[in-house]
């Protein structure tokens, strides 16, 4: 099949498509009066819910911890106070990174050339990895928030050993994940297993698109 035949074949298929194309005039008028949803309106319900939970968690955390810092710092259990503060702080940071990413994606100009726009969008989407990396750093603090001076003074050798092993292991795991949850490891089996759920699909698709875009020689891409 030569080029001409190929184009003719395509055109034949498009003729039948065009014959059936209709825009409802009323619909066109409706769209011009449509109030376009803002950034939150453009998000899926699951993401909105996760964002809401995150904000609630941070708000509750801040409202509970602030009075301790202000009024009863000297008597407070420092293990709980610092562990909880770091957890809340990391959640707030992850939320900010995520919101910044969503707003930037929302503002991308879709009238620019495809490769430039898609590279920008896919890279931004891939920064979702940063949210995950920040959140895994919370892991060790879940093992320390319940410690207290009385408990530590009464613990025997075995209790100490078990507690330290758990905490050190979670520190090791958190740091390992923080440094390894990167774009470069996208093809590793463990990486794909972590991000195999449906919620991570846009991230994995963005990574696949970035790989595709990398196949276009950089020096030949127009500015």
């Amino acid at each position: 099949m030569n080029d001409l035949e190929l184009i003719k074949l395509w055109q034949v298929s498009q003729v039948s498509l065009e014959d059936n194309m209709k825009f409802n005039r009323q619909s066109i008028e409706e769209i011009t009066h449509l109030k376009v949803h803002g950034i939150l309106g453009s998000m899926k319900p699951f993401k909105k819910f996760a964002l809401l939970i995150g904000f609630l968690w941070v708000s509750i955390g801040v409202s509970l911890l602030s009075p301790i810092y202000l009024n009863s710092y000297s008597e407070a259990n420092k293990f709980f106070l610092f562990s909880a503060s770091i957890q809340v702080g990391l959640t707030a940071l992850a939320l900010l990174v995520y919101l910044y990413q969503r707003i930037t994606i929302y503002q991308v100009d879709l009238t620019e050339p495809i490769l430039r726009t898609q590279k920008k969008l896919a890279r931004l989407q891939a920064t979702t990895l940063w949210t995950a990396r920040i959140l895994v750093l919370q892991l060790p603090f879940w093992t320390t928030f319940w410690w207290n001076d009385t408990l530590l003074n009464q613990w025997g050798m075995w209790q100490w050993a078990i507690t330290l092993v758990v905490t050190l292991a979670s520190i090791g795991l958190a740091l390992w994940l923080f440094f390894h949850l990167t774009y470069e490891n996208r093809n590793k089996q463990w990486f794909q297993l972590i991000f195999s759920s449906k919620e991570w699909e846009p991230l994995m698709k963005s990574i696949a698109l970035l790989e595709q875009l990398e196949a276009y020689p950089k020096q030949e891409t127009r500015a």
């Binding site: 298929s13 409802n24 008028e29 009238t111 490769l115 969008l121 846009p202 875009l213």
Partner: protein, 172 residues
């Protein structure tokens, strides 16, 4: 541009160039329901961007950029159909559920081939089949003209191979 002017231009664009939206949506989404959502999103993005349209650029180039960018992004964001706009209804865009042609086998193969292409290659192939010049394709995609030629050449080779397989199979 005031609102009535904007509205008039929007209606003109859709009337004159609706084919671009439908063709791109059709190539990226065989499922009619997804296509409806996609065309709605394209229309909305055109409406949102209309004030930024610079008439020193070709209208079709501008429209291809929006519709392809929306189609590729839509694919990334949506694994399943989901309704995004509260006020838009399914009846707003009328797209045929079945698009058949006389040359069914070849056509099915061509559609299947296009369907299997990766997002950017698919955009290239649509623009090539729409007989856009290499310069215009380069402008829409943001590639150099020579790169457009090389890429199209490779995709066509794959397609011809596929058709020759079909031919040899039908002779057996």
């Amino acid at each position: 541009m005031d609102k009535p002017e904007q509205q008039q231009l929007f209606e003109q664009i859709l009337e004159l160039h609706k084919g671009i939206l439908f063709k791109v949506a059709h190539a990226y989404y065989p499922d009619a329901k997804d296509r409806q959502d996609l065309v709605q999103e394209m229309m909305l993005q055109i409406w949102k961007s209309i004030n930024r349209y610079d008439d020193q650029f070709k209208m079709t180039t501008w429209l291809y950029r929006i519709s392809l960018n929306v189609a590729i992004s839509y694919h990334r964001k949506n694994s399943t159909r989901h309704q995004k706009f509260s006020k838009l209804t399914d009846q707003m865009v009328d797209i045929p559920m079945e698009d058949k042609s006389d040359n069914e086998i070849k056509l099915n193969l061509l559609e299947q081939f296009i369907g299997e292409l990766k997002e950017i290659d698919k955009a290239l192939m649509i623009l090539y089949l729409e007989e856009k010049s290499h310069a215009e394709i380069a402008d829409i995609l943001g590639l150099s003209i020579s790169n457009v030629g090389t890429k199209i050449g490779r995709i066509k080779e794959q397609l011809k191979l596929k058709f020759s397989h079909l031919k040899s199979e039908s002779h057996e």
